[in-house]
């Protein structure tokens, strides 16, 4: 019962005028930051840190958490409306959100994104409230072998991503993996694959550069070719019937919500992962387990709900290791952590008992922020839809400019803009040749995480792969590994299984 009293106090704290005002303001900034390609929650929070030195720590964390949160919602907007991922966390939202918008169901996509985000955020904050201390223990036991096993599981789900053309999907995954090894070796620190000695390759290939290139530029080229510039994006009207239809579509997304919320939270609490891998994994697994997995990618609401639910859930989850262990669960929480230290707090196991107002104020504010962003998003949908009424001849240059700034912003190097354009063109060609591009994007995100975990594990085990299958010593890693193997085999037997199953049903 103690927890509920503390939570109630926390909610009261976040209703204090200063805190509530900052919360609302933070959500709005977050929405904007998330929706602008290239500006994500990381940049948003980092830019705003200095402002927080003049307000009390509790107000500061509430404000920044609201920005973080709002950005998770905001990213979906440009993913759906423009086809450019607004932030790295919203890349998976493009996969189905964009086709929905093109089909004239942008309303459904935006509603799915907003409601999915709300559900993910709410489930995870409840999990957070109830189980923070034992979950911190889980995060503590989740080390290199466990992380690698989880990554293998993620890759296993991707194999099913590209439809039944498994070889083409594997090819796409390998391209992504190869690109992810460019830069500096994670263990020895030596430069790798620095083509033509161009220093821009030293920081590796930022995955947003690939995602914006493929989805922004590639998509634009594709649309231009298909329509010769005479695009009538879609005829839209916002009336009650539309609204009803949008909400009706959500009924089919219950499974996506479950997967997104729980998987997102779990991935979020693991150190160093964060909302981007969570959203991608959630999409992959939802698709894999869905009855109509073939329709994913052509615009199904569940394909929007899964990643959106997961990224919000993960962003809440990633605050858990930040508060309880003093280690960041995502790039954004790394910056929040820096802020906490500067506000004079010591993140770590004692924070909950030493600074209850701070911790519970933050948790309480997450409930409020969730509710507020949902209302705000639904209310703003008509405004977002206006974008679709803009003629393509005007919209295309705008998208192009947003792509270029989005490619430039994360690393602030022109090198990445050229790369982005190159990827855009390559993505267009791959698409013409009917190669799935999503797996490449996924593997460039997870590649470095997987490589590092693999090599750490192998150092620990003196090079033996047995470390991943040791039920006695590392049961978590072993179980995840076996699940991964099952998932990997599934697509191979999937068509067979479905055939048998259908036959059984019809007879």
């Amino acid at each position: 019962m103690d927890v509920f009293i503390l939570l109630l106090e926390g909610i009261f704290v976040s209703f204090e005028p200063l805190n509530l005002g900052l919360l609302v303001f933070g959500c709005l900034i977050g929405l904007f930051v998330g929706a602008m390609p290239g500006l994500g929650s990381v940049n948003g929070v980092a830019i705003l840190i200095p402002i927080t030195f003049i307000i009390p720590p509790t107000a500061a964390i509430i404000f920044l958490a609201a920005v973080y949160y709002g950005a998770m919602y905001g990213g979906a907007i440009s993913s759906v409306m423009l086809g450019i991922p607004g932030a790295s966390t919203a890349v998976a939202t493009v996969f189905d959100g964009r086709p929905l918008a093109v089909k004239g169901e942008a309303m459904t996509a935006l509603t799915a994104a907003a409601v999915g985000s709300f559900v993910g955020g709410t489930v995870s904050v409840i999990l957070f409230t109830l189980f923070a201390p034992p979950l911190a223990e889980v995060a503590l036991r989740f080390n290199a072998p466990e992380t690698f096993a989880l990554m293998v599981m993620a890759f296993a789900t991707f194999v099913g991503l590209g439809g039944d053309d498994v070889p083409k999907t594997i090819f796409s995954i390998l391209i992504g993996l190869a690109l992810s090894t460019i830069g500096l070796d994670l263990i020895t620190g030596k430069p790798r694959l620095i083509f033509f000695n161009i220093p821009g390759f030293l920081h590796g290939i930022n995955f947003l550069v690939l995602a914006i290139g493929i989805y922004g530029i590639g998509e634009m080229l594709w649309t231009l070719e298909e329509t010769k510039g005479k695009v009538q994006m879609s005829k839209l009207s916002v009336n009650m019937k539309e609204v009803g239809r949008a909400f009706g579509a959500l009924k089919k997304t219950i499974m996506a919500m479950n997967i997104g919320s729980f998987l997102g939270f779990f991935v979020g609490i693991l150190p160093a992962a964060g909302a981007t891998p969570a959203s991608l994994m959630s999409y992959g697994i939802t698709k894999q387990l869905s009855k109509n997995s073939k329709e994913f990618g052509s615009g199904v609401p569940a394909g929007v709900v899964a990643p959106e639910c997961a990224n919000n859930s993960a962003s809440t989850g990633s605050m858990l290791p930040m508060l309880t262990l003093g280690i960041p669960g995502s790039p954004t929480t790394a910056i929040l952590l820096g802020g906490m230290i500067l506000w004079g707090l010591t993140p770590g196991p004692l924070l909950f008992t030493q600074e209850p107002e701070f911790v519970w104020g933050l948790i309480g504010s997450l409930y409020i922020a969730n509710f507020f962003t949902l209302v705000l998003n639904i209310a703003l949908i008509p405004a977002f839809l206006m974008v679709l009424r803009i003629p393509f001849a005007i919209l295309a240059p705008v998208i192009f400019v947003l792509c270029v700034t989005g490619g430039y912003a994360p690393t602030q190097s022109l090198h990445d803009v050229w790369l982005m354009l190159l990827f855009g063109f390559a993505g267009y060609i791959l698409r013409k040749l009917d190669y799935p591009v999503a797996p490449a994007v996924l593997s460039i995100v997870l590649g470095p995480l997987a490589e590092k975990a693999l090599r750490q594990s192998l150092i620990l085990s003196d090079g033996s792969m047995g470390i991943f299958f040791d039920m006695a010593e590392k049961p978590i890693a072993a179980i995840i590994m076996y699940i991964a193997i099952v998932l990997l085999i599934m697509p191979a037997f999937g068509p067979l299984y479905r055939k048998l199953f259908k036959k059984a049903q019809t007879t």
């Binding site: 980092a46 995060a139 263990i187 030293l202 920081h203 262990l325 790394a334 590092k452």
Partner: protein, 325 residues
């Protein structure tokens, strides 16, 4: 009280700039945001200081333009140093140092970084030290109460050490200890001191050589304990931890410097401006209190003193690297 002190310092530093302006051209002041490059990931020791410096500057308006910290953690500082080298002459770029600025140019000659000519050292603000940490409930370090217990255990058994990346300070220290005490350990690299601390408490590694602040949370909660601090004297933030001198190992002494450098080829005016700015930050009450509580040593150094110090440290690190394998 502190406001007057701060004001006085601002006036002093402003007059420093003003005096220098008489001798040469017009005084420098930043015309756009100042990039502060951090050659390490978010959440580590260097990152923390960089953001503290940023915060102190913003809060008190010590600079006319904002400071923007940018993490370039690739390759033990290689990415950051390459970036700053390319920015030669740029008046709005600074880099905060870890000791990797002393080792990376030697370890990665292919980057073509010349430590003495590619940077303009401004000032050293802090030195940080290292401790030998074990987990209170470590399964392989049960019964270890003192540093001598630890050495005895480590000699017989291949312990696992968590560290912050190849050829970082802690791996060099491991090399140093190997020479001095004759034990070896399996070195597993992580992303920054926070992850190292977590790996220790989570039971993946047996010991770490972390900074005070990196392990502070787990130290305060009692999940990990320190056996020795690698300095001549005890530190007030860790009153019960003996110094290496006390234990009779004066050779076990090692510091990490938190200094700031500008790119090569900046005007003397620019150098003076930033040194003055850092000096103001150094004497800020909040900055002082935070660092002392965090177990750091306040150690301002600039000008020729700093250049000498860097030359000595560079040579010392070269020696450690040479003896490494």
């Amino acid at each position: 009280m502190s406001i007057i002190k701060k004001l006085a310092l601002v006036i002093v530093s402003l007059s420093l700039v003003a005096v220098s302006s008489v001798s040469s051209a017009k005084p420098f002041s930043p015309k756009k945001p100042i990039e502060l490059i951090i050659p390490a990931g978010q959440g580590g020791g260097a990152d923390e200081i960089a953001r503290l410096v940023q915060g102190v500057i913003e809060k008190n308006d010590y600079a006319s333009k904002p400071v923007i910290p940018i993490n370039k953690k690739g390759g033990s500082g290689g990415e950051a140093m390459t970036y700053v080298k390319k920015k030669a002459g740029d008046e709005h770029t600074l880099i905060i140092t870890l000791n990797n600025v002393l080792t990376t140019p030697v370890n990665q000659p292919e980057l073509g970084i010349d430590f003495f000519n590619d940077f303009t050292p401004l000032a050293r603000l802090i030195t940080d030290t290292f401790l030998v940490w074990i987990a209170t409930e470590g399964k392989n370090t049960q019964g270890v109460e003192t540093f001598d217990d630890f050495i005895a255990l480590a000699k017989g058994n291949g312990l696992v050490m968590g560290g912050t990346g190849s050829m970082s300070e802690d791996e060099l220290l491991l090399g140093m200890m190997r020479g001095q005490f004759g034990f070896d350990a399996k070195y597993v690299p992580y992303d920054g001191g926070g992850a190292v601390a977590k790996g220790l408490v989570g039971g993946e590694s047996d010991f770490t050589l972390n900074n005070p602040s990196e392990q502070m949370g787990f130290y305060q909660s009692g999940d990990s304990k320190a056996l020795v601090m690698m300095t001549p004297e005890r530190n007030p933030a860790f009153p019960e931890v003996p110094s290496s001198y006390e234990l009779g190992y004066p050779d076990l002494e090692y510091y990490m410097m938190r200094a700031f450098m500008a790119p090569a080829g900046v005007d003397a005016e620019v150098e003076k401006y930033y040194t003055g700015l850092l000096h103001t930050v150094y004497h800020d009450d909040e900055f002082q209190t935070f660092n002392i509580d965090d177990g750091k040593l306040m150690s301002w150094l600039e000008g020729f003193g700093l250049k000498d110090f860097l030359a000595i440290e560079y040579a010392k690190h070269g020696e450690i690297i040479k003896n490494f394998d």
